[in-house]
């Protein structure tokens, strides 16, 4: 019961953390581009404003999809805080991803449609990686339960550095950062306007944004599992990871989906197989 209450508190804090992260991200990105940048609280202003806008939708399925997206992302985070099953929480997160696509596909908007197709291809790219990372974790700990990861004595990163890189690919895709911001990105200067998010507006866009925060925190939480032994190590790992993400975002062009599939599935899977074999042998 105590875990449950703690998990609920964690769940409530997640959007705050996610929003702050997004704010810091935007500020740092701005500085990397020699700009002053927005206030750190900017993402919250954005979401609050969006919540206050008049709803505008093409059809009702969109609304339903937005709600399901947030809900399942939140549920996945809850499962994470409950120290549940990694694979299960990933599948729960998939519900959100799928409904995001369903919502985009249900509207006759070419941009949303193309965005949805690309989002699916992105899922195709990152899903196997995440599953394989989980398998690696289960090989190291003998179980898919997060609780068992915390029972380990040595940080996972030492035994599975390549899988961490694979997870980094997934994180980049999920964060919608270059070179993988192909289905939708935070700045609309791309050929698809805002891809899957094109037809969402006002409060529903705010929901998707909050859901996105949940997703980001969740994946960062997964990264944190790689150095669970000390808080300092965990924070350092996360800071380094996120800083690397921001840097990569700023030194890469956006690539195309064929490149993404080839690169992520090729390089990512080779790294993973290598790491799995290593775990398998030892």
């Amino acid at each position: 019961m105590l875990t449950f209450i703690a998990a609920l508190i964690g769940l409530a804090l997640t959007p705050v953390v996610g929003g702050l992260l997004a704010g810091v991200d935007r500020r740092v990105t701005a500085r990397l581009q020699s700009r002053f940048g927005p206030p750190i609280l900017q993402p919250f202003y954005d979401v609050l404003k969006l919540l206050g806008k008049a709803p505008m939708v093409v059809n009702s399925w969109q609304v339903m999809s937005a709600y399901i997206y947030v809900m399942s992302s939140a549920l996945a985070v809850l499962l994470f805080f409950m120290q549940g099953d990694l694979l299960l929480l990933f599948f729960v997160m998939t519900i959100g991803a799928v409904f995001q696509v369903v919502g985009a596909l249900s509207v006759p908007s070419p941009y949303a449609q193309v965005g949805a197709q690309r989002e699916l291809l992105q899922m195709l790219a990152y899903e196997p990686l995440i599953i394989v990372v989980f398998v690696g974790i289960s090989m190291a700990t003998g179980s898919f339960k997060i609780a068992d990861v915390y029972a380990m004595e040595k940080p996972l990163l030492l035994s599975m550095p390549f899988l961490f890189i694979a997870l980094g690919y997934a994180l980049t895709i999920k964060l919608r950062k270059s070179p993988f911001d192909i289905s939708a990105c935070h700045h609309a200067h791309q050929e698809l306007v805002r891809g899957v998010l094109t037809e969402y507006s006002g409060p529903h866009l705010a929901l998707l944004e909050i859901g996105h925060w949940f997703d980001v925190v969740l994946i960062l939480g997964l990264c944190s599992l790689f150095w669970h032994t000390s808080i300092v190590g965990m924070v350092a790992l996360l800071v380094v990871t996120y800083a690397a993400e921001i840097l990569i975002d700023n030194i890469c062009a956006r690539m195309t989906w064929p490149w993404m599939l080839k690169n992520v599935l090729g390089v990512g899977l080779v790294l993973s197989v290598f790491n799995l074999l290593w775990l398998y042998v030892s």
Partner: protein
């Protein structure tokens, strides 16, 4: 409820997302609008993002004269912006039609088609003027929300 309402109003003033529509401009104002987004002027300081999609936008920046073909587009874009929204007409062409007022294919300023909240003069309008325009637009929004007074028109200062 009151607290949330306050927060939302604060958000509205702190996060004006803009959509830019080039409505037959000579590109002069367009590149100045774009320049506003770039490091030297960086309007993201005010929470402004160029969203490129009317459905996400709060403020419509229009540059250029309205002609018979793009007036429908302008109207469409305006209609697709969810309330509350504001329109800023930029440059001589956007405000009145500028040098092209008398061309056969020109309808005139943006206010011929949609209601305009702020007029930014200039040919082309400087980025500073565009930033002033957005700030004025926020004042207009504030006034519409009942949180402040309508900005004054200064003819001669």
């Amino acid at each position: 409820m009151g607290l949330l309402e306050n927060w939302i109003n604060k958000g509205r003033l702190k996060s004006p997302w803009v959509v830019h529509f080039d409505c037959g401009s000579c590109n002069g104002c367009d590149i100045e609008v774009l320049a506003c987004l770039t490091p030297v002027f960086d309007v993201e300081r005010f929470g402004i993002i160029n969203v490129g999609n009317p459905k996400h936008a709060d403020v419509l920046l229009v540059t250029g004269t309205v002609n018979h073909r793009n007036k429908k587009v302008l109207k469409n874009i305006y209609d697709q912006m969810p309330d509350p929204k504001a329109v800023i007409a930029i440059g001589a062409c956007g405000t009145s039609g500028g040098v092209f007022r008398e061309c056969y294919n020109v309808v005139g300023g943006v206010d011929q088609v949609i209601p305009v909240d702020v007029y930014v003069p200039g040919c082309p309008a400087k980025p500073d003027a565009i930033i002033d325009g957005v700030v004025t637009a926020l004042d207009v929004v504030k006034a519409k929300l009942g949180l402040g007074e309508m900005p004054k028109v200064t003819v001669i200062d």
